[in-house]
């Protein structure tokens, strides 16, 4: 290693200690060191959103954050979303509405929707709100309508209690 740093962080609720090279980005740390390969890497320069994870609850591009910058932070990846043997409601809604085809972008999409769900704090969202949030996640397959439909079912006016 050229410039090693010791880091301590939480990943999907579990404490992690590691030594990382300064140049290693968070996506590669999750995938290669922690073997959490659910976080995908598309472009490696912040354009596609495939690598989106939550850092202290906020969606970020993990290809643009260094692993050393995650020291002391709490990370949530796609591996932390579902309960034991059960899909998370966002995952189930995406499946129902054909919101994925090859699935490459899906982990990033789900992390974006997780943040959106948290930020709405129980309120309802419009299709525009949902499209604005999803605009940072590129999908080469679906045309987005299925994702928007899934999010509208969960967060839209029809979902209001």
């Amino acid at each position: 290693m050229f410039d090693a740093h010791d880091i301590t962080l939480t990943v999907n609720g579990k404490p992690v200690r590691a030594s990382v090279d300064a140049r290693m980005n968070l996506a590669d740390f999750l995938r290669k060191d922690l073997k959490l390969t659910g976080t995908h890497v598309g472009c490696e320069h912040g354009v596609c959103g495939a690598c989106t994870v939550l850092v202290d609850g906020a969606s970020v591009r993990s290809c643009l954050m260094l692993a050393v910058q995650a020291d002391g932070r709490s990370i949530e990846t796609i591996e932390g979303v579902a309960g034991a043997g059960e899909l998370h409601p966002i995952q189930a809604a995406l499946a129902r509405h054909h919101g994925l085809q090859c699935g490459y972008c899906t982990p990033g999409v789900i992390m974006t929707l997780r943040e959106l769900d948290h930020d709405r704090a129980g309120g309802t969202l419009s299709e525009d709100d949902i499209r604005a949030a999803l605009s940072g996640n590129l999908c080469r397959c679906t045309g987005y309508q299925g994702m928007v439909d899934a999010a509208l079912e969960l967060f839209g006016p029809a979902a209001a209690p």
Binding site: F2, D3, H5, D21, A22, R23, N25, D28, E44, H45, G46, V47, G49, T52, V55, A58, S59, V60, R61, C63, L64, M65, L66, V68, Q69, T112, E115, A132, A133, S135, G136, N137
Partner: protein, 291 residues
């Protein structure tokens, strides 16, 4: 690709960061990393040292002071977007920031990083130019104030010295009877703007334009103020004719063009966006005059 090797430093204070920048060779400041990290991953930038400002608490936060807002350079764009204080005191900044990148990049991207990076397609420098914001920078001999007008030095280059660090942004409070508007044109929402316009104006008691500022991004390496259009509007009633005259002047702004977006195309965009922002800003100022 992956970033080339570098050494990483995480100072805890402004003084420590300035000391590092003064002693290290080929060092770059890392703010939110939403421009620098892509440049490093693409191997367009290859600093030997990164000085990460992310652990310096005094660079983060939004506060109201006697002049308006004082924003720490490392405050995230997302925090500004969500801030009630910003929405109340500087609606122009609040309006523009929703156009900056995506939610996922605004969570990390900072106001100071964007102002220092000075991308011609970026929104925040245009707002800074329209509002005549002041900047505070810290260096080895103390701190100094810089008017944003004097800040851009060249393409993607600010006038900060290599060992200086931008620490705070001062956004002036707008007088009563003021209104503002931000519009940009691009092919997809959240892309860098092909052309963007930020306009703020203040009406006098008779409803005439007492003061107006129009800034254009995307025409040149730096945001341009439309001095001639501003002068023509001052003292006028903001009626359709006066705004159309100002738009015609805006359409003569010299613009850098390329094969995709030639200069005359940008000039047409400029005229249209200036007329629209003036119309919106004037009606907002009139609404504010009635409350």
């Amino acid at each position: 690709m992956k970033a080339p090797a570098f050494r990483y430093h995480a100072p805890r204070s402004i003084a420590e960061a300035v000391a590092l920048m003064s002693t290290l060779e080929n060092a770059r400041v890392l703010a939110g990393g939403q421009s620098l990290m892509p440049m490093m991953n693409l191997r367009v930038a290859g600093p030997d040292h990164l000085v990460d400002l992310g652990r310096i608490a005094e660079l983060n936060g939004i506060a109201e002071d006697e002049h308006g807002l004082r924003i720490g350079a490392m405050t995230s764009q997302r925090a500004i977007e969500k801030s009630l204080l910003v929405a109340t005191i500087c609606p122009l900044l609040a309006e523009a920031i929703a156009h900056v990148g995506h939610q996922q990049t605004r969570n990390r991207g900072t106001i100071g990083g964007s102002l220092c990076h000075l991308d011609p397609g970026a929104e925040l420098p245009v707002v800074a130019a329209a509002l005549d914001i002041m900047l505070t920078a810290a260096g080895p001999t103390g701190s100094r104030e810089i008017a944003f007008r004097d800040f851009p030095a060249d393409y993607l280059t600010s006038s900060l010295e290599p060992e200086e660090i931008l620490t705070h942004i001062h956004v002036p409070r707008q007088p009563p009877r003021s209104g503002s508007a931000f519009l940009e044109f691009n092919r997809r929402p959240a892309d860098f703007a092909i052309l963007s316009v930020a306009t703020t104006l203040t009406l006098d008691e008779a409803g005439r334009i007492a003061r107006v500022a129009i800034a254009v991004g995307g025409a040149s390496y730096r945001p341009m103020r439309l001095d001639a259009a501003e002068a023509a509007l001052t003292g006028q009633l903001p009626n359709a004719e006066a705004l159309a005259d100002a738009a015609a002047i805006a359409g003569t702004l010299p613009c850098d063009g390329d094969d995709l977006y030639p200069a005359d195309y940008k000039q047409d965009l400029c005229a249209v966006l200036v007329r629209r922002t003036l119309t919106i800003a004037a009606s907002r100022a009139q609404e504010n005059a009635h409350v």
